[in-house]
Subunit: 504 residues, 4 copies
């Protein structure tokens, strides 16, 4: 409403009240102005009415929402379904343009602003999360793996002779595939066991660099966030090696924004050595739907090069999600989530330790991993392997998601490469184990339920291993705990036990 | 609500009415069952209540919506913002899994079903749109360009020696970039002028294949939908060449699903020769937001290979949009849109012809192009080039979107390759011209407004060229036509005239 | 967004595009300004984005949406559920104030504006629907019956001696109850049969007025919209009687806004005689949910008196619904609906005539009723009454809603008053019949389905009456017509046949 | 989705996962079944997905959502605007039927269920809030005042000779109007001053009953929730008087559900004497939008009689709001709100006490009022009255809503009755004062902001009274406190000072 509208309003109802309403509106506008001027995440989250006002204002700047528009192009932002238009707040044109996902669209000033502001907010959050010297970043509507692929494809043009990517092993298929898809040959560097932890074998890395020659190497591809007992790579040392040999360094920081330790490693790596880009998932760090990642770095022009490698427009949906989320939370809200996660990690850690000890198992000592924990599974009886797998299946059917059992000796071939001990990041980890993680958003009740259900499943598995029949074991499952879960357990425990294995 | 709930309901209100309500519910369920069993687009569109019931039912099958779930993984589908959860109908887990965008997710049976059904519906629609022998397809949450890149990256593994992509020229940056990003060298085949039309130079293609040798060629990358006076590539003949030389053939069918001529070319090409995959945009063909594409083909296993090249999960958002859209429209609704588009093409064509003749211009004769039209701009006066550009700018400021003026002699360098006559698909098209297209969803009022505004702009440009002042020209702009447009025109006409040039 | 925000936006993306977006925004604002200044229904409907912008702008003028508000009263517009806040567009304070439903609320300038504008739009629509001399009206969040009660309660204060209300009989319970609830004694004037039509007995009205004495009569309570064969009351003549005897006249125009004939009667009545207020349903005339009515009249101060009789605040929900609806439709959209209704009436009329004749029945000749039709049911066989009732039940179970069968001789006591021939508006209508109406929003497919199903039901009923078994009759029900309907029919036909009788 | 759909789903994705999804669905269904079977508010609130599933399931039981419905009645639940349909979750038919707002609608089994369940939940909550012996209640889509009117209109039929309503004075217009609108003469019983409190004059009530004669008295109309220093009426004693004289007793419990003291009074009154019905606002007690009330009582048949007095259907909107709210909160959530309110009352009370003493004012001692507080305003200087009014105005413009200043000697005439000392519930309260209330949903930050702003306003008012100019006073207003508030203050302080006076 403009001045004339307010004036007309004053004639309909009391001028004093309309003026008060009009002033109230200015508070919303003030927040919007601050956001546009500063490009920073507001400290306090916005309420829904400011947020929707803002989105609405942006949307009407896109040509598909012009009242007088006539479109005679091949892509005019027309929408067949009102449900679809509404769920996208009428942002239809996506982000980016032919040659550059960060480019401004003439037809869509609102979507373009949305894109710029989102990238700006996200940069601000990365800084506060522990990488203050980051210089540029952008949201890309692809998950982490494909985003890594985009980084590798960009590097190809700078290093035409390169064929290899040096990759300290992490048993997560999409990390491996990201290199294969980009057309490079991953050089797997096995991890070394230090205490319970699996850590980067720096000597092997450097030896491999020398062996292959720096020019033939596209980059080092390291990882921060990972399942225990693997721990984040030794980023500082890797960064120094990269600097020394003039090799690019791409960091897979998939769910590392939520952990100050991971972020600190990146910050330090960049300070003392070389990190060209680090890639993180939107969903895993910002509690939005799957489908977006942030590509960030310390060299403005390299990040721009990557954004210019994305051919064509792209979905604005992940950007919109993270924008809404960050404006709702505010930086204080996000910091609070980070703080709570740390506390939950301690809580999960201590409870899992206690439980494991009561079963003569052990919580692996992995102090360098700030998110994931592992508890040994050594005492499940004779048919150890089968029991480990069964435990995983039982947890799955009891609606424990994300817990992962890792049996010994699993072998898997991914894109032609055979991994021994797959899932455990090493050929021969000393024992089977179970993983649980304290990721952002975890609540006390999740931990409590998990410990309770794990306890029951462990009991059942052991009994069965002690030659008691499967049926009686299930009979002991406490029927009162969760409505409906029991039936499901009965039906599902007997489905192929390995289906869940790759579920995480 | 289950049987017990209905029974309880019967005790609260009359049994007869509850039973009638319960029966009514079965009609909705019946539609859902048919969809799941047949996997085809329903003939009649669903109403919103069936659609939302269906989405709701799917969503509660995902673990993040389980009432009793406890999640201790690193990605549990938690959402920080209720607004975000709601706009995604609580589908948070995305689609696909580590190694394969078409894979099923254990944590998300609902999202997995959504993904399968969407792909199935889309396949059904591609068949009815004119490619009945297509065997497989999938929706990928990337725009056309990046999807083409993914195809090329997949082919790399099958053709390790290949370096080149044969590409009949089309002046659209993201097409070109899709090859660059994948790391290949585009071999540009200039088009030949036949009458007004620019058509594929088949001899040059074959000569180039021979010159470079089939093994060094990754594929032929042809195009169907394009701006006149370029017309769709001679797919049949190209497909035969590809078959003869054993070269893969990828077709950019960006907005071709909407035109039976484009679809027919693909069907024929596959019948008589070789087409490995054809890629189309979701937004341009199905009136959904930008951000998705369909990769389709005739060889089931090759399409699966591509889907397995996408490393990691991906956004379900484009799939959800097209699912909602197709279920709302039904196949009859979609066919109706296709039919209306054809009619609108005739309407636009005849009106543009009439207008062009009244200005001593000419509608280019491009019968092979079923979507785009071009009208010459030869008579704008002395400062022809400046006038052409000004016309474009004026149309833009008067909220005509998608109309494109193409001046002579524009030169542009894209990723190191210099294109003479850029935008016109050839080094030296005989004249400048203006494009307009009849894309799906175009309405009569769009055509009418466009013709009206173009008429005025042409008048103004000519007058100015006849030495009349800019001011007087603008004065003659009819103030009554569109509220608010006039002011904007005054302000914006003088911004840099070339900003709009790449707007389409 | 204000000027500073746009300026900041220009620094983020191209100034030219932001300006174009900013100009586009002005078109929306222009529509809003016109609405506020003129208070008339826009000719063309608004699109959703303007509508939601407008509602959003109004809502942030309410104190519950002030960012800096602190509320220490007993009613501060706090909302516990975000779903609830959202569905009301965050209008929480309702409309009106202690003493007056039309009063302005200091805490809620936005809601107050919403209320004023809605009443203004509705007044505009009543004028264009055929009562150009109406001077005031307001939306009240009560259905027609309770709104009539409010009118009667208001009159009580002006006519303290009055005990009776003169009421030409119409067999609709809530009309009767509206008088009982207000504490008055309805004086039922039986209708007279003219041809097939039941019309107002003017002589009986006047005789009653004389008999009871004008001062003892609160008002005449007449009706326009009604089921055939009753037709609208003779409003002109009643209005003249009221004027002559100084008796107020309240018209129940429940669903009459949609029929120009009803509106014309009111206009004429007011011109030649006396009409104090006419009351119409929101849902029946404007296709919104049940729950609101419009009280309108020709004497500004009397309408204000009624609005001041409503003690306390009231729900804004019906006002919001009708506001959204009218702004979406525009006056042109509403006129189109009126026009289509007229056409559908002709369509229903001719099809029902044809069908009735094929069964040796007859469409009653009721030219004064512009909405409702009646077809005789004389030939259903021996057990006529049972057959009529069964027909009604069968239609209900086959999802024909709103069709009403009226058997002979039904007797019902409502609030102590016994009505013979209840549902037929007269003690002894010559025959049983079936009603169907062409109300606003009726579609051709409704008519077609109705005629088809009625045809089948009539066939079945007749067969059964001809001693054929019930089972075989149902066996003949065409199983292909409607999925799921058949089963229901089997189950429900045997529920108590009379349940549906009062369904309309 | 039914069994066949799930089976089809199992063929599309893994059977094990679909079964798990299907089982998960049963948890939602289980909650719904419990609700329908028990009719009680669930202890734990439902999450949005269960809630929306439930509403969706109900809605498709209404005939307007039948896929095969054809409607030929005058009211078929058609909706012109998709926005409107959506915001009502497609419940269009409202609640109730011709003669009874609690009746079941044949066309709308879903809406009927919604109505029944809502009333059942609300009854459950009234019991837990402190009136365990309540036997029946219903939600009516009218605010408290009109609902009281409906009670009085119902009583009229049982007490045809009654003309008067005995009414212990409470200065709230709609309470008074509720009696006037019903056509009765309120007999105002002045309150007596006990300490600072204004309490019911029981002797005056009984004397009046004797004077007028019980038969001429429709009922006693008492009040629980009210502004301090008035306190809730002595319900027990009034109920005994009513029982002794055979006079009905209607209690205005507007915002009393939130205070156990008010509820306890009702429970006790009904136990020892007579309470026929008690009426409470939905918005004030359940944090939903304005527009609904609950009429409750101890005699099932009397409450039914009232529900049968409502002529015609009514809006389902308030019922839907309270249903959503209660299901979201659960009884635990509601109890938590009640508990927090009590704590906030103590907080407000102590802070206001402290502040008042620092200004040599006093918090009135009103221990019987559990919600509202009053602080004296005696020391504002010479122009005491003007200063009091100015203080109110200043608070209003500084976005303090709900605070009410009560000057001495205000006289107002409502519907012909003149009230001296209006707003203070008595002719001559000893001093002016300011009210603040701790209503449900009040937060600590509201209290803090209120105290802070009140402090500043008091300072300013005093200074001005000490002959300092208005301008300088405003200059001292702390500019940093609230963005935008200052400007508003400047503009609005000078509008007519009395506009805010009736704002609460």
């Amino acid at each position: 409403m403009n001045r004339e509208s307010f004036a007309a309003g004053e004639r309909l109802v009391s001028a004093a009240y309309v003026r008060q309403g009009c002033e109230a509106r200015r508070s919303h506008e003030h927040l919007i102005r601050l956001l546009l001027e500063k490009g920073k995440c507001p400290e306090d989250g916005w309420d829904e009415s400011t947020l929707e006002l803002f989105l609405h204002e942006l949307a009407i700047m896109d040509s598909n929402n012009f009242l007088g528009n006539c479109g005679v192009g091949e892509r005019e932002g027309r929408v067949a379904s009102a449900l679809v238009a509404r769920r996208h707040y009428r942002f239809i044109h996506g982000i980016g343009r032919s040659g550059d996902i960060s480019a401004v669209q003439p037809k869509a000033a609102g979507s373009s602003l949305l894109n710029k502001i989102t990238n700006s907010l996200v940069l601000d959050i990365i800084k506060l999360a522990g990488v203050p010297t980051v210089t540029n970043c952008f949201v890309v509507p692809m998950a982490t793996g494909m985003s890594l692929t985009l980084c590798f494809l960009t590097l190809r043009h700078k290093r035409p002779k390169a064929k290899y990517i040096i990759w300290p092993r992490i048993d997560q298929k999409s990390c491996f595939k990201s290199m294969i898809t980009a057309g490079f040959e991953p050089v797997v560097i096995e991890n070394v066991l230090e205490g319970d932890e699996l850590r980067t074998d720096l000597k092997a890395v450097e030896a491999k660099v020398r062996e292959l020659g720096p020019d033939s190497i596209l980059c080092v591809h390291s990882t921060t966030s990972c399942f225990a007992p693997r721990v984040p790579d030794r980023l500082e040392e890797l960064a120094v090696i990269c600097a020394n040999y003039g090799i690019p360094h791409i960091v897979n920081n998939a769910y590392g924004v939520q952990a100050s330790k991971c972020m600190h490693l990146i910050q330090q790596g960049a300070r003392v050595g070389r990190i060209d880009a680090f890639v993180q998932s939107l969903d895993k760090n910002f509690m939005v739907p799957v489908g977006g990642a942030i590509i960030a770095g310390f060299n403005d022009s390299f990040i721009q090069e990557i954004s210019k490698m994305y051919p064509g427009r792209a979905s604005a949906s992940p950007s919109l999600d993270v924008l809404i989320t960050l404006l709702s939370l505010g930086s204080n809200g996000y910091k609070k989530l980070l703080k709570e996660r740390k506390e939950m990690f301690l809580c999960l850690s201590s409870q899992l330790k206690k439980l494991s000890e009561s079963y003569n198992e052990r919580l692996l000592h992995t102090p360098h991993n700030p998110i994931s924990l592992a508890m040994t599974l050594k005492t499940l009886g004779e048919h150890q392997d089968r029991a480990v797998t069964q435990l995983g299946s039982m947890l799955f059917t009891r609606q424990v998601s994300g817990a992962r059992v890792v049996p010994l000796g699993s072998v898997q071939t991914v894109s032609g490469h055979t991994f021994r001990g797959f899932m455990s990041h090493t050929n021969n980890y000393p024992c089977a184990y179970l993983n649980a993680a304290a990721a952002i958003g975890l609540k006390t009740q999740d931990v409590d339920l998990f410990i309770k259900r794990l306890d029951k499943c462990l009991k059942t598995v052991r009994k069965e291993q002690n030659k008691e029949s499967n049926a009686s074991g299930v009979d002991n499952y406490d029927k009162t705990e969760d409505v409906g879960i029991e039936d499901m357990a009965l039906k599902l425990d007997n489905v192929l036990l390995d289906t869940y294995q790759n579920s995480s």
